[in-house]
Symmetry: C2
Subunit: 397 residues, 2 copies
């Protein structure tokens, strides 16, 4: 029997997937499970996007241009400009989700054995894309005590080797909800210029900020044009996770020419979803106002409720729709499993994502969980009640 | 300025893309260009697939399961069984096109520096996926003189090294149209068993065979269950190239477990297109009868017309919708460019794909072109008239 590749063996499993069989156990018992573990919003997709598909009148579902429909790229460039980002049509390649944009960014900038520095905790799939690309993730720790602010630049510099090719940030952050300040972005810019690295910024949560603090895009850093690569997606902005439409954006012509060759090899991004994504650009501002207001409300509720629990520490997220909470337990993996397998409060329980899966350094964040506030306010309140009661029972065991 | 990766530099350009600027020149002159160069069929997508999208009533466009909707996988397994392929639901992961299935197959079976043997001429994007995966393509030449039949097994064996992990075939073949016989498939099966290799079969043109010869799937080779990986796609079967839905199929549990981790990292295949692809499974047999009859007619017309030209040699394709034609010229790259840039017959010209781009060995197939018969019969006839007149003019130069 032929052996699979080392890469195939090393591909990481999602930190959430491990819990799915236990969620199934809870559901088989008839328990209601509140899913605090996932990033699938319950927010409605804009009607203008869904209607564009319902009203479609094409006879042949053809390939699009490998860089995506030109009409979509043109309109997307206008969207960015309206939002203060100097992005031209030529700076955009439409991808199959932010996922493919990350794969293109890694493939374009890094070879087997090269290193990418990522502040942790970070979006767990960065590990998967790195393994698939043969790239080594070098984590730099950010902590709950600073609210997951940018680690000191000196911490990055200690980790830079001749193999280091890029720094990757998620801004606002999944799983931290942290929003990098202008000063932090400028520090990063100076660092990548000094060491001639790429700065890859995953900005898929750009529009989700709650305290009036502006979002500083990697595309707005003066003099960083040749270093900056932006990753974007329609998944969260328009609650269109299933579209699988994103883009890679850069002013660096070599990067874009290479990314285009990756894009040509896979022919084109999905046609239906591009049509819907283009239409989504006409979503009225009132939709976003409502959505942001809803998320802000949920965040405020979630954080207030969590802070009422003895021994829980939480970093108030400034953006995205996640927070990291430190719990008065030793091991969140065991606790999360126990919540599903052995616990219920009146036949209800919660599913949380153990945060260790978002750290690359072993044995860090063991007592932390990621909570996504993609549920209605009353469900969040109920979820935290369950969590509180569960912690009491768990710690009496 | 930071440097892009070696991989990014080495990514091959599509052999057709190089000609696009020259096609633009022809179009700017007002010349009509017959596109014999592309694999985008003009056949209508089944209405049942398009209607499934028009009638869609969902509020949130959510992620699907990373392996694809279970309902789709279940129905697809039934489709395969109806067509004599023993494929269970657990053997299927839905991918973003056959492209992603190929990437998953390579990532799952091969590491940086490993080798894959591919009979050439082959689908040019195999080069791109190999480069992206850090895999070395080792070509084994098939020739127009045998109609691009399977090269002798001894030719494969000469190329096998400790780095060889897989053999990749396309059946029926793009760009050759060749359909492997049962005997050839059994020879390949014995070879991969002897050397403990994977046999990856790209069968996206499975349904397009014209002479009553049966298609032998890699999934039908007894005792090859642990070696066989099938690549499939809805692109050609239902003229749904823009859907970007395919799948990777294998009975090898290790392969599927590793492929699943690649699938989880990119979250899910596109939702709209999965819904349309599932609906497409209800396409009536009458649709396929018409389509196959149309392609057979086109093939017969194209081959008959080409054979009337002095000095043209053509291998009659048994399947898919391409053929390789040898022309009485030295260099098809130059000829194809000249056709667009400098030639017209009453303001009309043709675009062909130079076949050298489908060979990995340098300086092979220089006088060959790939012709796709995805145009209406009368357009094919006119195209060959233009080609004939063009060859006369070109050879008088």
């Amino acid at each position: 029997m032929p052996k699979i590749s080392h890469k195939g063996q090393q591909m990481p499993e999602s930190p959430i997937r491990k819990l799915v069989p236990y969620a199934d156990i809870a559901k088989k018992k008839g328990h209601k499970v509140y899913h605090l573990n996932i990033g699938q919003p319950d927010i409605k997709t804009p009607e203008v996007a869904m209607n564009s598909i319902k009203n479609l009148d094409i006879k042949v579902l053809e390939y699009s241009h490998s860089a995506g429909f030109e009409s979509y790229r043109t309109k997307l460039s206008q969207y960015y400009k309206t939002h203060g980002l100097p992005v031209d049509v030529a700076d955009i390649i439409i991808t199959t989700g932010g996922s493919e944009a990350l794969l293109f960014a890694m493939g374009t900038t890094m070879d087997q054995g090269d290193e990418i520095i990522i502040p942790e905790p970070f979006y767990a799939n960065y590990n998967g894309f790195s393994t698939a690309s043969g790239v080594k993730v070098v984590p730099v720790i950010s902590t709950i005590d600073t609210g997951f602010a940018l680690p000191p630049i000196a911490d990055f510099e200690k980790l830079i080797t001749p193999k280091t090719k890029a720094i990757l940030i998620c801004n606002p952050g999944n799983p931290t909800g942290y929003l990098y300040s202008k000063d932090e972005m400028e520090q990063l810019a100076a660092l990548v210029k000094k060491h001639d690295l790429f700065l890859i910024a995953d900005e898929v949560y750009r529009e989700f900020t709650y305290d009036g603090d502006p979002h500083y895009s990697v595309m707005n850093l003066p003099g960083l044009e040749q270093h900056a690569i932006m990753i974007d997606s329609v998944s969260k902005r328009y609650s269109m996770c299933g579209a699988r439409i994103g883009c890679i954006v850069s002013k660096n012509k070599e990067v874009m020419a290479a990314a285009m060759k990756f894009a040509q090899a896979r022919l084109s991004p999905p046609t239906f979803a591009q049509i819907a994504s283009e239409a989504a650009l006409d979503t009225p501002q009132s939709y976003f106002n409502e959505v942001i207001s809803e998320y802000r409300d949920r965040r405020d509720t979630l954080i207030a409720e969590l802070q009422k629990i003895d021994g829980v520490k939480v970093a108030t997220p400034k953006g995205a729709f996640y927070c990291i909470a430190q719990l008065p337990i030793d091991n969140a993996d065991n606790f999360a499993q126990w919540l599903l397998e052995s616990y219920d409060l009146n036949q209800e329980t919660v599913m949380v994502a153990p945060a260790a899966g978002f750290y690359s350094t072993p044995n860090v964040g063991l007592n932390e969980v990621r909570i996504a506030y993609v549920l209605k306010k009353e469900d969040l309140i109920r979820s935290v009640q369950i969590l509180k009661a569960a912690l009491e029972t768990y710690n009496k065991k």
